[in-house]
Amino acid sequence: MSRTVYIIGIGAISAQTEESIFLEKPIIYNSNIFQAISPNFKEYIPAMALRRMSQVIKMGLTAGKMALQDANVELPDAIITGTGEGCKQDTEKFLESMLSQQEELLTPTSFIQSTHNTVGGQIALNLKCSGYNVTYSQESASLESALIDSVLLLNEKPSLNSVLVGGVDEVSNRITSFGYLNGFLKEEEIENLSLFSKKSEGTITSEGAFFFNLTTENIKDSYAQLKGVTNFKAESSIEISEKITEFLLKNSLRSQDLDIVFLGKNGDLEQDKVYDELQNTIFSETCQLAYKHLSGDFKTVTGFAIWLSCLIFKKQQIPAILKLNAIYGANPKNILLYNLSSNTNHSLILLQKP
């Protein structure tokens, strides 16, 4: 990839706020499922339209518009979205009506809004953006897939200069709670900040939307350079280390060049062993950060870590609440995000201070 890609606008909605993290006042939750903190949606979406929208649409559209406003872009050339689980609230609504009414007398609204590309379509509709518009739904690699496509698009069409890319996932009543049944969520309710001290299986979950405005021009206020994104499959910790080293090398870096590594640890006893191994080997000399104790774990949550990385670059401040070890990443320049969704699917995102 030849053109350099910069993040020039960010918009995020999650269970935390910029203040709660950077002023070290994290918001505490006592349930394993918690919701995002809603901004005033009315500032971004007409009240009439808002009434029909599920949380995922409200969050996605608002975060998308926040990112555009932040970048001072009115109309992007393309909109690329990632969502692991799509429009669960509307899916649930239509499904439950269909099952309880035995396929009779159904109204179409929730069906219409249940397709995975509803958010991407609604952003296009709101902005009257007729450009390229694609939605990825590849479990925990959904946002990463969207980022890969964004970089590809900016490289193949020099005429394109602005891509709005983001990830979004919502909590729904029933479908999210199924996580208690299949081991995704911890059986016992915990306080989110104790995520890494409970030695048990499962994790905690929430929701959020994270949008970024990408361009190829390094304007003076850009947050970060998006150096590389990859999804890969690997089974052993040696194989994982090799893939990480290979990815860094492709971007002309060695592991010791990293100032910060953002780890997707989620408190699951088994899964976190993979991270522990990396923390003690290739990342042992690097400032290690975690975030899922603040955001919860969900399919597009790496967007939360990208958003935090952008703010860390801008503020040149690393909140203590994120830190996993005592190494201080002074004047951070290179940040690597590593996340795994199952023991075989992994993703890497490399960000650099412009």
């Binding site: 990839m1 396929e103 509709l125 990825y136 479990e139």
Partner: protein, 396 residues
């Protein structure tokens, strides 16, 4: 004109049958695969569908899958079609380890969700299907079963998903990011989609009549199809069955489900596809239209086509009356039909047509037609204003 991306294999399963040959035979005999649902357990037994008449259990036995391994129906259909594509391209197990896999799916494993949703809380018998609702799960099941280990992702843009998957694969090869990738889509019939489209009142109680003045809705279908795309250095010694020459995606930005009357998004997608292909509109020999047979789509698509093909409208047909509308798989199924059209110099008929739309007078091809076909344009449009056009060419 560019040289496009080489297609070295294809596979398909639809209501027309299992495999490229069975589908081709049905197309040339003008035998549709539309009848009432038998595999899908629904109350709406009088709504015609394009159903694959094989039970999941029979697929599982045929594929020798161990019991209880959480294969959704879309995964089973996908495995069958992808296997045929792999075989026809002659890929071996080692090559698959570095091959990418990009699949389109709209409802993923909704068939399992709607079956077990109400029992999850009281019984753990089918908990393996809890994550199956989301499209990525089905994609991963297919790639795991076939041991495809390269870059893997899922596109979920409703009815244009499969076409978008083909486009992404072609782009990644052109950019040198991948040298081999299997692309396409899969969707099965579900009560969820059947009732959803029924609640929108866009399902026909008859066999669908695309582009007909009296058209009154679509028939849903199910199926899967995949193509193998390869970079020139890998494809040069192989049999190249066609090329992905152009592609375009645009958003209609008009309404969540309805297309604009002028077909703004469709026009832009087709125009972009021609531009990428580097050919003029007059070069298109055949348009495999989206043509769902809804009042809204067919008029909008016609208007977009008329706006782009100003002098002569190429021969055109919709093959939805053969297979039903297979949602995310539609673009992939129709890619296979487009390649068959190029290979055999045939244009497949638009079934059930009798009277042109009074707004446009557009006349689709209604009988199998033999003529030189060098370039085929295939349209796929979906909810969310998503419009995709692909251009396929012979390998010349």
């Amino acid at each position: 004109m560019n040289s496009g991306v080489a297609i070295t294999g294809m596979g398909i399963i639809s209501a027309l049958g299992n495999g490229v040959e069975a589908n081709f035979n049905a197309l040339i005999k003008a035998q549709d695969g539309i009848c009432f649902p038998e595999m899908l357990k629904t109350k709406h037994t009088s709504l015609p569908v394009g159903e694959v008449k094989t039970l999941n259990l029979d697929f599982e036995n045929k594929l020798q899958l161990a019991d209880n391994r959480s294969y959704t129906r879309a995964a089973l259909l996908g495995i069958i079609a992808a296997k045929e594509a792999i075989k026809s391209s002659g890929l071996n197990a080692k090559e698959l380890l570095t091959t990418g896999f990009i699949s389109g799916s709209s409802v993923g494993g909704m068939d399992a969700t709607e079956k077990y949703y109400l029992e999850y809380e009281s019984s753990d018998a089918h908990h393996q299907f809890i994550p199956a609702q989301h499209p990525g799960f089905t994609t991963n099941k297919i790639s795991e079963h076939l041991n495809i280990k390269g870059f893997t992702t899922t596109i979920s843009t409703a009815c244009s998903s499969g076409a978008n998957a083909i486009m992404l694969g072609a782009r990644l090869i052109k950019a040198g990011e991948l040298d081999r990738v299997i692309v396409g889509g899969t969707d099965c019939l579900t009560k969820f989609t059947l009732n959803g489209f029924n609640s929108l009142k866009i399902l026909s109680e008859e066999k669908c009549k695309a582009f007909d003045d009296s058209r009154n809705g679509l028939n849903l279908g199910e199926g899967a199809a995949y193509l193998v795309l390869e970079a020139e250095n890998l494809a040069k010694d192989k049999r190249i069955i066609g090329r992905v020459l152009g592609y375009g995606n645009a958003n209609d930005a008009y309404h969540q489900t309805a297309a604009s009357e002028t077909g703004e998004g469709a026009y832009k997608a087709m125009k972009d596809a021609l531009e990428v292909a580097g050919i003029g509109a007059e070069n298109i020999d055949y348009i495999n239209a989206h043509g769902t047979a809804t009042r809204n789509n067919d008029l909008s698509e016609t208007n977009a086509i008329k706006q782009l093909f100003t002098s002569v409208i190429p021969d055109l047909s919709s093959t939805k009356a053969f297979t039903g509308h297979t949602l995310a798989a539609a673009g992939a199924l129709e890619a296979v039909f487009s390649i068959l059209s190029l290979q055999n110099n045939l244009i497949f008929p638009n079934l059930n047509f009798s009277k042109p739309m009074k707004e446009s007078g557009l006349l689709p091809i209604t009988e199998l037609q033999n003529k030189t076909v060098n370039y085929v344009l295939s349209n796929s449009f979906g909810f969310g204003g998503n419009c995709t056009s692909l251009i396929f060419s012979k390998n010349e």
